[in-house]
């Protein structure tokens, strides 16, 4: 198949989805999607963030589920998410707070367009704060297995205009670092990120963090369990 035809084929699949109403937001009842807040103050507020999946281009998927620590430690999960013609994902989780962030997806399958190999994995995760890293379990592009722990910004060689980057790590102007387990760009018209976490600098080395709340327990006195310190967080318990 000529490259032009392959691209057109890919576009065809994606545009069909567009006709079907392709700007997707999470199903009602799914975890709340919060916009990514910019790192402005040094208060640790909103600096640590994570989301399990995000897509832009012909098919748009808002970061889902997405959390940040502007209201303290937050976590969210979604049992499954289907993006017609693009992806089927299970057990999407995201958590952020205490100078750390983590996102993961289990059992995923991503269709990259007509004639393109599908991306599958049994789990992908990305984390920062304690260490900046991501890993893939049983990930394959078609039949080609992908490394469990690829070095940062490992580009997978694929023919055509498909770009797949594993363990994508970007340092922003303000020093925050974003790590994404798998970052895909199809023909420049469809982007998809799986498992993304962003943290303020300094958390990794255990050095001074950007005033995010410390996690350490007060050392037990005489072996007695410590009195807890309430930590700013949000969790909907069953009322």
């Amino acid at each position: 198949m000529s490259r032009k035809k392959a691209v057109a084929g890919g576009l065809g699949v994606l545009s069909a989805a567009l006709v079907a109403g392709a700007v997707l937001t999470p199903a009602a009842g799914a975890a709340e999607v919060r916009p990514q807040s910019k790192a402005t103050t040094s208060g640790g507020s909103g600096v640590d963030s994570a989301y399990a999946v995000s897509a832009s281009g012909l098919l748009k998927v808002n970061p889902t589920p997405a959390v940040d620590d502007s209201d303290g430690y937050s976590e969210a999960s979604l049992a499954e998410l289907t993006v017609p013609t693009l992806a089927q994902l299970r057990v999407l989780t995201a958590r952020a707070g205490s100078g750390q962030a983590r996102a993961s997806v289990a059992d995923l399958s991503v269709g990259l367009g007509l004639g393109r190999p599908a991306l599958t994995a049994s789990a992908v995760e990305a984390q920062c704060g304690v260490k900046t890293s991501s890993s893939l379990a049983k990930a394959k592009l078609g039949t080609v297995p992908l490394d469990v722990q690829a070095p940062p910004n490992t580009a997978v060689a694929v023919p055509g205009l498909l770009s797949v980057v594993l363990n994508k790590q970007v340092t922003h102007q303000d020093g925050t670092v974003t790590v994404t387990a798998i970052s895909i760009n199809v023909d420049g018209i469809q982007k998809l990120d799986l498992a993304t976490a962003t943290c303020a600098p300094g958390g990794e080395s255990g050095g001074p963090t950007s005033s995010s709340q410390p996690v350490s327990s007060p050392a037990p006195v005489g072996g007695k369990a410590p009195t807890p310190t309430p930590v700013r967080a949000h969790l909907d318990v069953t009322g």
Binding site: E75, R95, L136, A225, P228, R232, V237, T238
Partner: protein, 261 residues
């Protein structure tokens, strides 16, 4: 090569003694090493936090043993949880639960392994951590809490002595507070919901609600803006307590057992 026989003999002697002890007392002195867990397995393991679900976890060996005090365990970094000493890995226990440091109750110990209660679904999930690997601390916890749903009471005990008893509210008939041996997993200074300044989420989840709001149906202890809850089954699962009860509850250590009958 000369062997320094004076150094060799004690080592050999010790080994012989160790083998003899092993032969006489059965499992208690046998070293059980953890199963190997590669990076792929590690990536696949579910997180042991309130949003997690673990499959293949053993059940709490004594869920009806009442409000007991005991040892609590805090991992300093994420630790693998196994189905049994030397058994398959089933989860990763993070060092943080909703912002609080992770403290879990220890319900059994054997051979350098500790059985802990997990904060995941399904309720009463337990698992084993390998103590000989290090990277954790333990402490003695004298506190325990008893919730009697039928009587609508909550009582705090310190070293077996009651230090307070209050009339509380529980889950409705449609969404009951689940019974069992739960524990306090974190101390949350709640930033969005306004019904209680501090919320103490438990390790148990609702059996009737898979999710609640943006959460996974976690049952918690907290207060309420008015007295409407007292002596009533009106919540969606949480145990609602008077403000002065909450003032005492926030002082008990994380990992304190909350025995719900």
């Amino acid at each position: 090569m000369w062997i320094n026989s004076r150094r060799l003999l004690p080592a050999v002697g010790t080994t012989i003694i160790a083998l003899m002890i092993g032969a006489c007392s059965g499992d208690n002195s046998r070293v059980v090493v953890p199963a190997a867990v590669g990076p792929e397995d590690l990536t696949t393991l579910p997180e042991a936090d309130t949003f997690g679900t673990v499959s293949g976890a053993p059940t709490d060996p004594a869920p009806n043993s009442g409000a007991v005090a005991g040892k609590v365990f805090h991992p300093q970094a994420e630790m693998i949880v196994y189905a049994g000493p030397g058994g398959n890995p089933i989860a990763k226990l993070p060092a943080v639960q909703m912002g609080s440091p992770t403290w879990v109750p220890v319900v059994s110990e054997q051979n350098g392994w500790a059985e802990i209660l997990l904060p995941t679904r399904p309720n009463a999930s337990a698992g084993w951590v390998h103590e000989d690997s290090g990277g954790f601390e333990t402490a003695r916890n004298d506190y325990s809490i008893k919730v009697d749903r039928a009587a609508f009471t909550l009582e705090i005990f310190d070293a077996g002595k009651s230090i307070g008893k209050w009339r509380i509210g529980t889950g409705s008939a449609a969404h009951p507070t689940p019974a069992g041996r739960a524990y306090i997993i974190a101390s949350i200074a709640e930033t969005r919901n306004t019904y209680s300044p501090i919320v103490l989420p438990l390790s148990y989840h609702s059996n009737s609600l898979e999710t609640f709001g943006g959460g996974p149906g976690t049952v918690g202890l907290h207060t309420w803006p008015n007295d409407s809850f007292v002596g009533k089954p009106s919540s969606d699962g949480c145990v609602r307590v008077p403000k002065d009860a909450l003032d005492q509850l926030v002082k008990v250590p994380l990992g304190t057992i909350v025995d719900i009958t």
